[in-house]
Symmetry: C2
Subunit: 218 residues, 2 copies
DNA sequence: GGTTCTTCTGTGACGTTGTCACCGTCAGCG
DNA sequence: CGCTGACGGTGACAACGTCACAGAAGAACC
């Protein structure tokens, strides 16, 4: 049982709490593109990323999206268990961006833990604060930064995640991440290309001048 | 000592915790327009509203603002004590919108409480979740709603807070709340006026057709 | 009362971003 | 090969933000 490696406050749990957790936690594999959670209705439980990558986003009535934050190895997704928290009024969706292995802790079990363990409660707090920070960062981006800067920054962080200089991503996906329309992304990328900062091809963006993109992003 | 009335988990504290809290909490009065907190630098401590009204907002480098949420009687302002939480990376400012009476609990005291009391830790969680919800609501407003709807909604909620149909507020203040420019507010209000939904005068907006405003807001 | 100052509001021109309609291109597949 | 669906490109226009400036309403001071 290697759950303890992924559950940081394991060491602060009692024997009983440990066995409760170990008995209830489930492993799951989800291929790239799986919708893991949508809306408050399905209360899967708390998810911990063993490997892979998740994207949390919100959806408008007309089907527009914007990425709220991402989750990587060892991150925990609180809001897939949002039903255990009253005061949570919004709907978040979560999907896999890569093939992903997960631990899933059923909502009620997690609730019992955080209701009985100070360590778990405080850790939950820290997690929530971290997510809160990410959302506040998003608000600041949306409000105060122009689109060219946002796009440049997105391309750069995306490429450091993926490794290479060639991003395999469509304009449509980029638009969904940044919460804008595909045409807008296309236009700006064309401009970047005319300035020699990127090279475009179907389904891919190559970063040809990271320094200028970086300069733009600041 | 009536702090217990404003501190919902008082009943779950031990005698020692109660006296710690009671000994450390301070009362403060702040007239309308006081800046209570700005940035992570000043870590006043956790604030509880006894009476009055607060506004939490963020500031851009160029001095633009947007209201994140508001606090009313009995609400607690976590982020004035943000320094006790690692993982909080953003700066929020808080100012009084009316003459306000506060309890202030020094940050270190609150930290000791939430580190030692499960009830306090879980209550903090709930508060954070509630604020999180408000910010998510804000993101949805900014992203998916057009400005006329946002303005209509703002005028309506503002008037239910203040009571009467005549809001004493400048276009500039409205713009700061909604995170836009004054000219934009002016233009839209003029349009509302031309449609008979409001009547404008210097420093005031009178709502003359709440029903149509309400219809707009949805 | 006037004069000055500040705050608040109004407006036109223009830049950026979002929306709409529609078309062209490319890849895969029968 | 031709069809199909996904992807990218484009022009026109709408919505909102920005800038520059002007005028009007109060406040303050004499």
């Amino acid at each position: 049982m290697e759950l303890e490696e992924y559950f940081p406050v394991w060491k602060d749990l009692s024997e009983m709490q440990r066995s409760l957790l170990a008995g209830a936690a489930v492993r799951r594999f989800a291929p790239k593109g799986t919708l893991l959670h949508a809306g408050a209705a399905d209360c899967v439980g708390l998810m911990i990323v063993r490997s892979g990558q998740l994207r949390a986003f919100i959806l408008s009535d007309e089907g527009k999206e914007i990425t709220i934050y991402r989750l990587f190895e060892r991150d925990m997704c609180l809001f897939s268990a949002s039903c255990i928290m009253k005061n949570i009024q919004f709907d978040i969706a979560v999907e896999t961006e890569k093939d992903t292995e997960l631990w899933i802790i059923p909502s009620d079990v997690y609730k019992r833990l955080s209701d009985s363990s100070l360590a778990v409660a405080n850790y939950t707090n820290q997690l929530m604060a971290a997510r809160f920070s990410e959302v506040m960062w998003l608000v600041e981006q949306i409000m105060w930064k122009s689109f060219d800067k946002r796009l440049a920054e997105f391309l750069l962080t995306e490429s450091t995640l993926d490794g290479g200089n060639v991003l395999r991503i469509t304009h449509d996906k980029i638009a969904a991440h940044l919460g804008t329309a595909r045409e807008v992304v296309t236009r700006m990328l064309r401009y970047f290309q005319s300035e020699g900062m990127v090279a475009l091809s179907r389904g891919a963006v190559e970063l040809t001048d990271r320094d200028r993109l970086q300069a733009l992003a600041d």
